[in-house]
């Protein structure tokens, strides 16, 4: 928790304009009105916390549900579903003519399209996965859905204008900024619903550690629990992808990092830990992405992988054993 607070303040204090700590503190408690802090850096830091913790939780839910350490929102096609939804809204509007386009491409239509896309793809993966027993097959099916959506996106891109393409590509870089307080509130509400559903699933998640047959013999309603877990994941991953773009890697890596650090599979420990670790990592990645003291901001999507992947590799090599 202490680490989180330190990261939070560090994140706010870093940026192209250097602002002394005193000003930051004063604007946070409301005595000074610093525009950059209140309308740019603070929303961005909060977004980073929501994005990191939310993606971590959705990755944890998927890994437990599919009993596969390779699972995550990306692998199972949730994010590619969201991408397809967004691509349809940004680029597909060309087909309907300019008048509707300007109405459609609001922040909200992107959010709704991304959520819907991710939910539909996850549902499709789930329906197919109920027919196959092999978990590896489910992952491959998820990758296939990813390929299909990628293909549809390329077809759309082919017919799109340069501005639309650019808009879509910039969305794909991922961005934690640009969220107004109003948007942040909506984001937080859906995030809270996702986390609440995850908390409701704690018992089911722990039971699933034994495998589905044992879970059923313990009186667990598999269908219902599975649906709640999937709703939680799509609410979290879908909204995050909608507001911040397809942030790579966090969903897969944070649960692994957390399991290694806390050495537990109990979700009552893992869930809060993943929330915390996810938030911290995202804040660190964002601080690096801003390239302190320079005017550039790197795409957050590149930074999460550049920083995160070596850390996971280092942990696995050092411990020599994967905890799952």
């Amino acid at each position: 928790m202490g680490v989180l607070i330190v990261c939070f303040f560090t994140n706010i204090s870093l940026g192209s304009v250097s602002i002394p700590f005193k000003t930051i503190f004063e604007s946070l408690i409301g005595t000074t009105d610093n525009y950059i802090i209140l309308h740019y850096r603070l929303p961005k830091a909060i977004t980073a916390i929501l994005v990191g913790s939310g993606l971590g939780v959705s990755g944890l839910l998927m890994q437990t549900l599919f009993r596969n350490p390779l699972a995550g929102p990306f692998v199972l096609g949730i994010s590619s579903g969201a991408s397809l939804g967004v691509a349809l809204v940004i680029m597909g509007t060309g087909f309907f003519g300019g008048a509707i386009a300007s109405v459609l491409i609001s922040k909200w239509s992107i959010v709704i399209a991304a959520s819907l896309g991710s939910f539909l793809v996850l549902l499709a993966v789930l329906i197919v996965s109920s027919k196959v027993r092999d978990t590896m097959a489910i992952l491959i099916i998820g990758l296939m859905f990813g390929s299909i959506t990628a293909a549809v996106v390329s077809v759309l891109s082919y017919f799109s204008s340069a501005e639309q393409l650019q808009q879509y590509i910039f969305w794909g870089f991922g961005s934690l900024g640009n969220l107004s307080w109003h948007e942040l509130l909506i984001f937080f509400i859906i995030y809270a619903i996702g986390v609440l559903l995850s908390i409701l699933s704690l018992k089911a998640l722990n039971t699933l550690l034994l495998g589905e047959n044992y879970a059923r013999s313990l009186g667990m309603n598999i269908r219902q629990s599975r649906l709640i877990i999937i709703l939680a994941t799509s609410a979290l991953a879908g909204t995050i992808t909608a507001f911040a773009g397809p942030i790579a890697f966090i969903g897969l890596a944070v649960p692994h990092l957390t399991r290694q650090v806390f050495n537990s599979s109990n979700h009552k420990i893992l869930l809060p830990a993943v929330l915390l670790v996810g938030a911290i990592i995202m804040l660190i990645c964002d601080s690096i992405a801003q390239l302190p003291t320079s005017d550039f901001t790197l795409p957050i999507n590149a930074i999460t992988s550049l920083i995160g992947a070596p850390v996971v590799i280092w942990l696995l090599v050092r411990k020599r054993k994967m905890v799952f």
Binding site: R67, K203, L209, L210, G219, R259, K268, V323
Partner: protein, 268 residues
């Protein structure tokens, strides 16, 4: 055998088991009439592919029956909800658990899931039942070890402890002695017998250890190609039931020792 007026916990009436395909039924075994008494250890034996697993899967509602009736505590199995059944019947399966990163205590504690609240918090009562299950299965020293650190025999004991913690009238185990050495096969079956006597639970297991089962079980269910017979091991031996268990070209049942031996004249 003394005539104990025992309580019948599980009963089947002309049960048929098998698989449903799109058009047809594939019946694996039919006319199964068995009665399991409280506080007894029952062994289910039969050749590979005869339908032992199908029978156990049917009794545990993993797969639907084809015809006939199953009663648990004089209530039809179909009328049980998931949760009621979880409080009546616990399982030890052949499949390994999904996460081996649980400690033995956490694993056994998961047996309390049907009784805990929505978030799965354990009460003092739950903890004492878990401790008791751990003591009964002699795994007290392993309590804080992770499951991946255990040997196959230790793991099996932990799984039995988990089933005990579920506090059900019936425990069903699917081939609990596979992968174990001779000593641990005997150990596990002896443990199951002790548990049946001490906790007054009904324990049904399938096994290929016919010799051990004959020595340790109160009753046995023998599945052959033509019929499903049940009874006390001694009675089954005198009826010559075990002779019809396998094709007779290779091994013979010796009624004096209660075990199978290879036929000397056997040739392929």
């Amino acid at each position: 055998m003394q005539t104990k007026k025992q309580h019948i916990v599980l009963k089947t009436k002309s049960l048929s088991i098998g698989y449903k395909t799109k058009k047809d039924y594939i019946v694996v075994a039919s006319h199964i009439n068995i009665e399991l008494q409280q506080g007894t250890l029952i062994g289910l034996v039969g050749a590979n592919g005869i339908g032992k697993s199908t029978l156990l899967r049917t009794l545990t509602t993993v797969q639907p029956k084809i015809a006939g009736d199953i009663y648990i505590q004089e209530k039809a199995l179909n009328n049980y909800t998931h949760l009621e059944l979880a409080k009546t019947l616990s399982l030890v399966l052949t499949e390994s658990i999904a996460s081996k990163n649980l400690t033995v205590y956490e694993l056994v504690a998961l047996g309390r899931q049907p009784y805990t609240n929505w978030v799965g918090n354990l009460s003092d009562h739950d903890h004492s039942i878990i401790e008791n299950a751990i003591l009964l299965t002699n795994i007290n020293t392993l309590k804080h070890k992770k499951c991946f650190e255990l040997s196959d025999g230790q793991m099996q004991k932990a799984m039995i402890a988990r089933a005990l913690a579920q506090d059900t009238d019936i425990i069903i185990l699917d081939e609990p002695t596979t992968h174990l050495d001779m000593y641990h096969k005997a150990y596990i079956l002896k443990l199951l017998r002790k548990l049946a006597k001490e906790t007054n639970k009904t324990i049904l297991f399938s096994s290929h250890e016919i010799d051990l089962a004959i020595q340790l079980c109160d009753a046995m269910i023998v599945m052959t190609k033509s019929e499903v017979v049940s009874g006390a091991p001694i009675d089954l031996i005198s009826q010559g039931t075990f002779n019809s268990l396998f094709p007779e070209d290779l091994i013979l049942f010796d009624e004096n020792t209660g075990s199978f031996r290879v036929k000397n004249s056997a040739s392929f």
